[in-house]
Amino acid sequence: MTILEATGLTITLDGQPLVRDVSFGLAARDRVGLIGESGSGKSLTALALLGLLPPGMRTSGRILIDGEDHLGATDRQWRRVRGRTVSIVFQEPLTALDPLMPVGRQIAGPLRLHQGLNRSDAERRAIEWCDRVHLPDPARLVRALPHELSGGQRQRVALAMALACRPRLLIADEPTTALDVTVQAQILTLLDELIEETGVGLLFISHDLPVVAGVARHLLVMRNGRLVESGPVDDVLRRPRSDYARQLIASAAKVTRLARPSLQGEDR
């Protein structure tokens, strides 16, 4: 059952189209990867799906969430969706989290807003969530401020915040790009766990092909604002239909290859 459906989504700024005619759907338990290089419009697309585009941008097309078109929705209508039906996690948790608010309260925020919990219940749930995302010493950590946590810990908090109200869809925009590779591996494992546990559908956006390929079952490839390829991950990786996707995969394969000369004979 499709939860979110974008049809012919077009985003323009000053008459310049930044995203052109993008269509795709997301259902529960989906794992969709959106890959593109800089300027591809992937982040703008993600923002549009939650009505978070900066002012000055014009959108056209349709964004159906649970069958209702939210394209021109008011902020109030969007607020009913954000955090409750669709959540988003960004690349840099330092800027996505309020630097002056203890993280426990930030996780509790959506709980109080959407589920009407009182403060102590919400705090209890926040501690539960901290435990769920494997943060050390949750009872103490809920009082910490974001800058007192490491990058990986902050991203765990961001995930807890995003999933606290059990949304049906999670959009993750480059969630591990700013993290060290070992921390990235931990967060990706955590993401996997959480998706299995909560049944949330995932839209994973990244420029990093191996990461996306590891997470997604369905792959969308964007270039210059257009969706140039869409299909099951294996199909796209092995039998890309568009030239761009073929080039991208070939470059990614070369760039991410761990050259091990003695295994592969002559090498450089």
Partner: protein, 299 residues
């Protein structure tokens, strides 16, 4: 001020469309400000060659007269033509304004650069001095200097110049520090470029637009400071004309001749508003270019 949205937009890179470029170049603030300022400058320049009457000319029969064909701005209590006074006052304001700003920048910019470039100890020392001077009211400083050296144009320029220099130094330090964090400064060091060359070729070219905007604002500050000093009798001594002194002299007769207070006050206001609008306009014009460069570079 980087929120996820701002980051996303910056990463995406807002394209440099012709519409955006045009909007940046046409700035109403700049146009209005420049017009006002040019009017004042014109008055000042013309006064060098001509004015309706001589400075000392008095018309005893027409004291405290309102604006008329003979006296466009009326006369003061001694029968002196106000328009002449306004013109010559403009000259004083512009001269003292420019001179003070020059003094402020000659002192402030090297100090700011020194603070940004030097080690923490020197930087802290300079910042301390700057903060003290900023906290110290310019007028008090002026009074201090006048007490010691007597009232004169030079003292007024020095006092205002020193007072404003602190703010200039502060802004220079902040802007230069930001440039120092850029990799291209480090790259210059690894190219063997010496510190002086780095300041001249890398730092100054990247901060001059900020300093220019500040110079225009400093000019406005200087004009008000000069008017205040003259009002208090601490500025350019008579008979040199000054809007501030015009205000002071017209105070007692304000009920009979309000225009003698209104017009000099308006002159100061027009000058300061004009220069502030000019500064805003400059910022609008200069910044979009920079932002476009930065965003195009994000590609």
């Amino acid at each position: 001020m980087s929120t996820p949205l701002v980051e996303a937009v910056e990463t995406i890179g807002v394209p440099d469309t012709p519409a955006r470029r045009r909007r940046g170049c046409r700035s109403p603030s700049f146009v209005i400000g420049a017009t006002l300022l040019l009017a004042v400058l014109a008055l000042a320049l013309v006064s060098l060659a001509w004015s309706p009457y001589g400075l000392d000319h008095t018309d005893p029969a027409a004291r405290l007269a309102g604006p008329s064909a003979r006296h466009w701005a009326g006369t003061d209590r001694l029968g002196r033509d106000q328009f002449t006074q306004l013109m010559l006052g403009a000259r004083t304001a512009v001269w003292i304004g420019l001179a003070s700003v020059t003094v402020a920048f000659v002192i402030g910019v090297p100090l700011g650069l020194l603070a940004a470039a030097a080690g923490r100890f020197v930087e802290n020392a300079v910042v301390g001095v700057i903060d003290i001077v900023i906290a110290f009211p310019t007028l008090l400083l002026a009074m201090l200097l006048v007490t010691v050296y007597g009232a004169s144009t030079a003292v007024a320029i020095s006092a205002i110049g020193i007072g404003v220099s602190a703010e200039v130094a502060r802004l220079t330090r902040i802007s230069a520090s930001r440039v120092f964090t850029q990799d291209y400064v480090l790259a210059a060091r690894t190219c063997g470029t010496g510190p002086l060359m780095i300041l001249l070729r890398h730092v100054l070219p990247n901060i001059w637009h900020t300093l220019l905007v500040q110079a225009t604002l400093a000019f406005g500050v200087a004009v008000i400071a000069e008017a205040s000093l003259s009002y208090l009798g601490l500025g350019t001594p008579p008979p040199a004309p000054s809007w501030g002194r015009m205000l002071q002299e017209a105070q007692s007769t304000v009920s009979v001749a309000p225009w003698n207070v209104l017009l000099p006050g308006l002159a100061v206001a027009v000058t300061v508003v004009g220069v502030n609008l000019l500064g805003d306009g400059l910022r609008e014009i200069l910044d979009p270019q920079l932002r476009q460069e930065r965003q195009a570079a994000g590609r």
